[in-house]
Symmetry: C3
């Protein structure tokens, strides 16, 4: 692994991703071979906001490797929430355990935690920022179900503007050759430009198709996500458009037999329940692949021969991250550092929010 922690999938090399995916496939084939791999090891699941499904997936992963789990999932009721700094909590807990999986509503939380942890830290979701084990889950699912991560026609449907999982998946699949993205959303919820550039800069292709129905025939993979009602311009527009983005049996009829439908779950009503019976609907299997993805990740991090910290960028005098949901604004002892982006701007090391410096600031 190129890094001690998994905060952002991009901290790892693509070779690392492949290695994680490939071990996940192996574990699923013969789980009994790995049943004692983590005997004597302890994982802490520190969940500063409830996320029962993700937490259970991590717990099941560690326990199925023969390890053990401690943690909390309800910090409102715990002493942890009462004023102790993240630094102190993490230093103490990392003295008890071998590995931490941290989830928080604050963006950059896991990065901040990794600065003080004596053990590897996994980002189990930091606000709307990153959720790298979901993306690993998606990669394992594609490898298992399609046999490859390249040369796929991938439909992405829903709120492409704000969807964290969609952005991460594009960044990941964009690293593999020959992938073509079909972007299916309302005009208001299209993919941000920087991600379109990201795709084409790496030789990938994309196409925007506003109606799911029209996109179906071409797809190898359909990644469904939810469009929240509030994202539409008006209730009338919601009423008019919502069915365009709901997957049902009728639309499934237009697709290839080899299509696979993914969804990060939970779903609300963007997939009709009848679709569950279609063998091409694999979102429940995807959740199980997620457990194997996490088992593989845990093994990689616990057996990392060259654990390296992610280097922080540098401070810019007087400049602080303006994101109100960023950990940097909440924990004053954190070094407020920034890194350069692809477009030569600077972005917060914790939450990746960009800062526009005036001329003198550069």
């Amino acid at each position: 692994m190129s890094c001690k922690h998994l905060i952002d999938l991009n901290d790892f090399a693509v070779e690392d991703w492949k290695s994680i995916v490939s071990l996940a496939v192996k574990i699923r084939q013969s789980p009994a071979d790995y049943q004692e791999s983590c005997r004597g090891k302890l994982l802490a699941t520190l969940f500063y906001e409830p996320s029962t499904r993700t937490r259970m997936s991590f717990q099941a992963a560690m326990l199925r490797l023969g390890g053990q789990v401690i943690g909390f999932d309800n910090p409102q009721n715990t002493s942890i929430s009462k004023g102790e700094s993240v630094k102190d909590t993490i230093r103490i807990v990392s003295g008890y355990v071998d590995l931490i999986a941290a989830r928080s509503p604050l963006e950059g939380f896991a990065r901040a935690a990794s600065l003080y942890a004596g053990c590897p830290v996994i980002n189990a979701g930091d606000g709307g920022h990153l959720h790298p084990t979901q993306t690993l889950t998606d990669l394992v699912t594609l490898q298992e179900e399609k046999g490859r991560l390249d040369h796929l026609v991938v439909g992405l449907c829903g709120d492409l503007k704000n969807g964290r999982t969609v952005h991460s998946l594009i960044k990941a699949l964009g690293q593999f050759a020959g992938n073509r993205f079909i972007l299916i959303s309302t005009k208001e919820l299209t993919l941000p430009d920087y991600l379109k550039h990201y795709i084409t800069a790496r030789g990938g292709q994309f196409e925007e198709i506003p109606r799911l129905e029209d996109a179906m025939p071409a797809l190898d993979v359909l990644y469904m996500t939810r469009i929240q009602r509030e994202r539409f311009n008006s209730p009338e527009e919601y009423a008019r458009q919502k069915n365009i983005y709901v997957l049902d049996d009728k639309k499934m009829k237009l697709a290839r037999p080899s299509l696979r439908v993914l969804h990060p779950l939970p779903r609300v009503d963007e997939i009709d329940l009848k679709v569950d019976n279609d063998p091409r609907a694999i979102y429940f299997d995807q959740a199980v692949y997620g457990m194997y993805a996490r088992m593989s990740l845990i093994l990689h991090l616990l057996n990392n021969p060259h654990p390296k910290e992610v280097p922080l960028g540098r401070e810019y005098p007087g400049v602080r991250c303006a994101n109100p949901n960023c950990i940097a604004g909440r924990e004053p002892y954190l070094p407020q550092t920034f890194h350069k982006t692809e477009s030569d701007l600077i972005a917060c090391d914790y939450c990746d929010e960009q800062v526009y410096l005036g001329e003198e600031g550069k």
Copy 2:
């Protein structure tokens, strides 16, 4: 086992019950022999309402078999409660684990869960409907303490009209020869007629004795339960009658040395604390037997050679269950099916509430 899941004790054959009771006795005699029986297996305790005692009993049971446990006990604070269907939750969780124990305030919850689970489901209590592992606990207790499940004189004291555990125990013991039930309650809280018929139809006997004192001398077993204050017609009547149904040392003096006093716990004030010191009071041992009962049940379900689903009944066009606390009314995708009762009526497959069809409906 005649069934993959334990939703209702009656889904199992009486032979199955005997097998579970007999293995529970064996495990208690030599727990070390079973200490590794579930190595590598995972139980999920999904508790949609808190029930600390039952949850700890299941957890202790699984851990003492060498297995592991994940789950939640506080869904108000979890994402699970926020709109995800039972179907989706159960499909995901049953991908992580080998066995589910589910508790819910909704009647029929466990049956609904079993329709979508890829693994066996145990009903750990569904509202006021069923609590089959309590009844297994009671059977193991009687086997251990009385050496048999038949030819017992069993006093049942308290709210016999509404008491879920009392009804289940009668249904269970009614299957064994020669049991005689002494029913001890106020006039308003007598056993429902259908259970009296149930007893006599199987060759059992019952007798109604309104005062606990008068019943004591004849009993092999006394099963105490609570009468809630609200169940009395008036505060005056409560004040007048309550002591009749409180077990104390004075009443214990009237009973045989071989009497055994059971209680499903928690008790409030229906058993005087001084009775705890009487060796015939075995309700705390009963709780421990419950752990062994659950250990045995877990082993039976995980090693079930012929797991069969409980068949659903059929739909009746336009007919829906009227029980506001039934899962069928909350989760619209559930098939609303009904089965025939002994008295040739139809009853909801989830909560067993009877429906009275008009002539045309039949």
Copy 3:
């Protein structure tokens, strides 16, 4: 061990303390040797108030010994809180497990629990009364970091009047020869007289030095604690005095290279964050030593060759403990007994609150 339970460190002989400390050191040196020591054993962590750090420390300790853990940490949401007596809860739970660690806001809770438990009980904190595993943690820390528990110059800084951990540590270190205590606090928050007598009665020495700065040069050990803002006479006095009791780099410069700084954690602002980088600041290591202290304690209690109950004192007709936070006032079935103190008064067996009997009461 001189006692079956650990309620109050003074229930154990000093030889027992030494044995616990010495095994803790051994386990830390070769944890793998103890990885299976508790295989098949079950610990219940019954936390009637949240204390995430202590709970995780107990859980990590038991899991690292190969044992398992059940329990609760949030009783407001559990059925346990709804009216069941401590007696009943403890009798049931001790039927499931081999060991109980109990925490409660009520003073004397663990003692009360121990009266009904079929297994050893560890006091994991009972209100402002006792927290013996914190003191064991402190002793292990001193043994590891200073190589001895005697002939130490120990500075104690903060609220010495009300600080539970400070009082316990003095009682413990007072048993070892040649310890000298430097008491650093405001005039209002000095150590209670009975503890000063305790020190000198055992041949120890103490000195009161009002400014931390002045005390620094002489210290082998500095035990920092928090002074709550409310403890000062006025906001003005708080503003004037608070920095005197804040440890910072400047004050650290005055101390010996061999100084060790301890803190029971969580800290608020009584230690400047920059001090964390000083190798003499070992409060985070102290938390880890706490895990080893608990591992050692667990092994001692589970392998206790002569488990003895702590004897209760006697009842005094008409006399009840007046402490409103004492368990004795909440659970009416508890025997209200008292023991003689060193100064020949009587004190409640649960919370140690002294009772002043009139002449006729003696």
